[in-house]
């Protein structure tokens, strides 16, 4: 039997924080056994966060987090630009979220908690008015088509730049711009009819308010 060829190996003692994304991704593509745990350590929290923001309050996302990393494990060889590990994972997360959102919509499962209260993943010391506003914002997003919802969440909630949104959704920059323009107008039209959202917005935006006055 031929001796196995050399392959890149993550040095176990090397701090994972000292390793850049490209090296981590290349190690995963080369089936280095240390790569996947390190990627999990670095990205399980950001992936969980973006999934929670995509799915909305009251929706458990642990199964989706598992699915994202399983898909990454199966498809890491398809990663063309190792430095884009984060975008690649976010792209998988968006596909998983889209699939789950469609599925939950069909089954009527996409909803807030039964009592309308955010779950315990919400930030500590959360302002009750802001919690209510978040709940209402997601009630609006629940009425959107999945693709538009995800574009809105990635740009306005997650705070990604347009190019990053395009990369995560696997579409062109022009498509993202068109999609965001339409969905932003629609969300804003619905938000203006919601007293709680508007009050919360006014309370949170003194700088802009001063600009008007």
């Amino acid at each position: 039997m031929a001796a196995p060829g050399p392959r890149p190996v993550l040095v176990a003692r090397q701090e994972a924080t000292a390793i850049d994304d490209a090296t981590l991704a290349r190690s995963a593509m080369a089936c280095d056994p240390g790569a996947h745990p390190a990627i999990w350590d670095r990205y399980n929290s950001p992936v969980r966060r973006v999934l929670r923001r995509a799915m909305g309050p009251g929706n458990d996302v642990e199964d989706e987090v598992q699915e994202v990393f399983l898909r990454f494990y199966r498809n890491s060889a398809l990663l063309r630009n190792p430095a884009a590990l984060r975008s690649f994972l976010f792209g998988i997360a968006m596909r998983v979220a889209a699939s789950e959102l469609r599925s939950r919509r069909i089954r009527g499962w996409l909803r807030l908690t039964p009592d309308g209260v955010l779950d315990d993943h919400a930030a500590p010391h959360a302002d009750p008015d802001a919690r209510e506003a978040v709940k209402r914002l997601y009630a609006i997003l629940d009425r959107l088509e999945t693709k538009s919802r995800l574009a809105f969440v990635l740009h306005h909630v997650e705070g990604l730049e347009l190019l990053e949104v395009a990369s995560a959704l696997g579409v062109s920059l022009a498509t993202v711009k068109r999609r965001l323009s339409r969905v932003s107008a629609r969300v804003w039209a619905m938000a203006q009819g919601d007293r709680v959202l508007i009050d919360c917005l006014d309370a949170s935006g003194p700088a802009s308010v001063e600009k008007v006055q």
Binding site: H156, S184, A185, I198, G205
Partner: protein
């Protein structure tokens, strides 16, 4: 109409960004170390089965397609999934005295057995009492009030089981173990025969993973925790899961702390330079370092590692737990009850419903009595009884409220 300027698309986007920021603040990626460890364990189990699952998927492709079609039709016409998974059920054998979900074996009777519908078994020794707190499709949550039990959790994909005993919590997917909790002695023991599990609680705030053949003993009164190695009763079926997929974990500080290699972790930190370690380490390594230092009695290192968690990862749940642990250090190892009270207060303010809330308030009660006397401690005792009438410090609190 809002006072926000919305005359242009840019103004409108600013307003939507403000709403988005609000959502961003409320929907974080934070989970407790216990939940993170459970998620990691689940992934490891999934990955261990991956090659088999891949083959099975290819073989069953046509059947899955047909089933998916049937599910779509059912979802459209019936409005719910074809096969909802029912929660587990359980049967109780004599001599377990069971009232709804409460279980008790008289101290004069032989051991009693509870059998779950997935094949898992709970055996209660004479005198043991507890409760089936919750049943779901993937497992159950059990509360042990006092006594000794044996739990054999049938290993299944996606299984989720937990046992709470006093301030401790155990989570597992499949394991066979004996455990004992004595509220009177504040003594907790877990003897793991096969499988693996994670234990969290006082002295193990970041979670300790036990492997087959290990026994954990936590003596809360003495403030001691030790892990002993005992011979496993049977070969560990589940240990094979970890080897092919995540062997890199074996070298992590967390794993080494779980294996009792506290001094090895501290030596590593010293070799790297403690200052650099505290500045550069990941949160997981800082948590492991703090644990190793606490177990090895290096109070100064533990103190600095806990402070580093709070400074560098201020929004993490570990940082909040660090406040409690800093209180315990000040209380038990540094003889600074006033500082301990301040840390307990901070923990209670940051995490009012946290898993150590009862412990923090109880310890604060004792510290306040020590520093300022019984009269000052009485309001704390009243608050403790209001919030934790069955808690481990309830007797002490009652004594204080009744004293003249």
């Amino acid at each position: 109409m809002t006072r926000w300027p919305t005359s242009s698309p840019e103004d409108r986007d600013d307003a939507l960004d403000a709403l988005g920021r609000m959502a961003r603040m409320h929907l974080t990626g934070d989970v407790s170390p216990q939940e993170e460890a459970e998620a990691r364990r689940r992934l490891r189990a999934h990955l261990a089965r991956e090659p088999l699952a891949e083959r099975a998927r290819r073989k069953a492709k046509l059947w899955i397609g047909a089933a998916a079609m049937a599910a779509v039709v059912a979802a459209i016409f019936v409005g719910r999934p074809l096969l909802p998974r029912p929660a587990l059920t359980f049967d109780v054998d004599v001599p377990v005295v069971s009232q709804r979900d409460y279980l008790l074996v008289p101290s004069t009777a032989p051991s009693g057995h509870v059998t779950f519908s997935d094949g898992s078994k709970l055996t209660l020794s004479p005198g043991a009492r507890g409760r089936i707190v919750a049943l779901h499709a993937d497992g159950a949550a059990i509360g042990l009030e006092d006594g000794r039990v044996n739990l054999e959790v049938a290993h299944r994909a996606g299984a989720r089981w937990s046992v709470a005993a006093g301030p401790f919590a155990i989570v597992m997917t499949g394991a066979v173990f004996d455990m004992r909790w004595s509220g009177a002695d504040e003594l907790f023991e877990v003897d793991l025969r096969s499988g693996s599990l994670t234990i969290r609680g006082p002295l193990a705030a970041s979670g300790i993973e036990l492997a087959a053949g290990q026994k954990l003993v936590a003596d809360l009164r003495a403030g001691q925790l030790r892990i002993e190695r005992v011979a496993p009763e049977a070969p560990d079926d589940t240990s094979a899961m970890t080897a092919p997929t995540m062997p890199g974990e074996s070298a992590s500080w967390m794993q080494r702390v779980a294996a009792g290699d506290f001094r090895g972790v501290l030596a590593d930190a010293d070799q790297r330079g403690l200052d650099n370690t505290l500045i550069q380490s990941t949160l997981a390594d800082l948590v492991a370092l703090a644990d190793a230092a606490r177990y090895a009695g290096r109070v100064d290192v533990a103190h600095r590692a806990l402070l580093a968690q709070r400074d560098r990862f201020a929004r993490s749940s570990a940082a909040r737990t660090a406040a409690f642990l800093l209180g315990r250090l000040a209380d038990t190892s540094e003889s600074q009850p006033a500082a301990a009270i301040a840390w307990y207060d901070r923990y209670l303010a940051e995490t009012p419903g946290g898993e150590f809330a009862s412990e923090a308030l109880g310890r604060k009660l004792v510290a306040v009595q020590r520093v300022s006397g019984a009269a000052s401690a009485r309001p704390v005792a009243q608050e403790y009884l209001r919030r934790f009438p069955q808690g481990p410090y309830a007797t002490k609190a009652r004594e204080l409220t009744l004293s003249p």
